[in-house]
């Protein structure tokens, strides 16, 4: 299998935060979704991949090449949307086109204007006059217009309304129609990821909690609701996390099929990525 991105043993220590042994690979043509709380280390990892911070340990390869050595290749092949806008506010979308033409060899002016038009963005208004959603769309248009092979997107749908979000997600779907195009994206809006991500990486406090295909996560994990009496009859090892509510217990389980075999009368609910995050971070582990 060919990989668009390989991250191995990534580590970075700050005074109050440490990224520990982050490792994953993104096969070419696939989408990897990054989930985790604010401050979990998603943006730090993304910045490391973009060579924006110095690593303490680990290495990163893009299309099989070391990012530290092949900076020019990395620049041409990657399209980026970061959480905070990196354009000066006095520029207009038209100015951005002029600047990008100089930066990227493959800058496609026609495509850029096409996106500006599709997104209904004003060509000659300063960025500072644009709404949050419009800025995001401008960033996405910019990231796509030099025909990158890998998109790295930090919260690309943040601040967008549901209609705009679905437009943007459709753009990503169009993007991966090409077999050699891949996407790494982080998002708080986990429902967006459920319908598009092939792989999910879940990080918390700088370490990886889960790394699986999205389908496997949604099929294997589940939530069991039960009363105290039943709760006590369930083996400790079958409870990944649990929450004691006022009227019932909720248990996060990691193998629905096995669980159903072992406890045939149990009621198992489907899980969403959001449930999974909340249970993993807020649920208790039975002692």
């Amino acid at each position: 299998m060919k990989y668009a991105l390989e991250v191995k043993g990534l580590g970075k220590k700050y005074d109050d935060f440490e990224l520990k042994d982050i490792h994953f690979s993104l096969p070419t043509g696939m989408i990897l979704g990054f989930i985790g709380e604010n401050g979990a280390g998603k943006t730090t990892t993304i910045k490391a991949i973009l060579n924006m911070i110095q690593l303490d340990s680990g290495h990163i390869k893009i299309f099989g090449c070391d990012i530290k050595k092949e900076t020019e290749l990395a620049k041409e092949e990657i399209g980026v949307v970061l959480d905070d806008m990196f354009f000066p506010e006095i520029l207009t979308p038209k100015d951005i086109n002029v600047i990008m033409k100089d930066i990227y060899q493959n800058w496609d002016q026609t495509l850029f204007y096409q996106y500006i038009n599709d997104f209904h963005l004003p060509l000659k208004q300063a960025i500072k006059t644009l709404s949050k959603g419009m800025r995001k769309k401008l960033e996405i248009a910019t990231a796509l217009s030099h025909h990158p092979k890998l998109l790295i997107l930090d919260e690309p749908t943040a601040g967008l309304d549901p209609i705009a979000r679905s437009e943007v997600i459709d753009l990503f779907r169009d993007f991966i129609q090409e077999k050699d195009c891949s996407i790494l994206l982080s998002s708080h809006i986990t429902t967006d990821l459920e319908h598009i991500a092939d792989y999910i990486i879940f990080i918390n406090e700088g370490t990886m909690l889960l790394s699986k295909t999205c389908d496997a996560l949604l099929e294997e994990y589940g939530i069991v609701k039960c009363k105290e009496k039943e709760f006590k009859q369930i083996d400790k090892k079958d409870k990944v996390r649990f929450r004691k509510n006022r009227y019932e217990y909720e248990i996060l389980i990691e193998n629905k099929k096995e669980f159903k075999k072992k406890y045939p009368s149990s009621i198992i609910d489907k899980i969403t990525l959001e449930d999974l995050m909340i249970f993993m971070l807020k649920g208790e582990v039975e002692k």
Partner: protein
Amino acid sequence: MEIIISNSSGVPIYEQIKEQIKTEILSGVLKPGENLPSIRSLAKDLRCSVITTKNAYEELEKEGYIKTVPAKGSYIADINIELIREEQLKNIERFVENAVFLAKRNGVSKKELTEIINILYEEDEK
């Protein structure tokens, strides 16, 4: 080809895709040799991930319903639909045999049994 994905049914999405393509093949809507959409375009149109459609196609290939040529795409395999149908009919017969046996033993009339079948059949078509 028509595929309807339900996000609330609890059946994994790749399985829904697989079973529905199978139905289309067995009912003759999709004919041997006919091309299938690429995993990417199918994922886009069904709004699911590429891995999901890839899984569905891989299972269909394993079961002999489709063939995939690298870099070219997938098409319906040259299968003997009659033969598969015959086998499935035998399967069905075996199940119904059990049902009839149970019905007779418990005094359930032929009419009542057909009624049950009718209801179940229609329920599934909703």
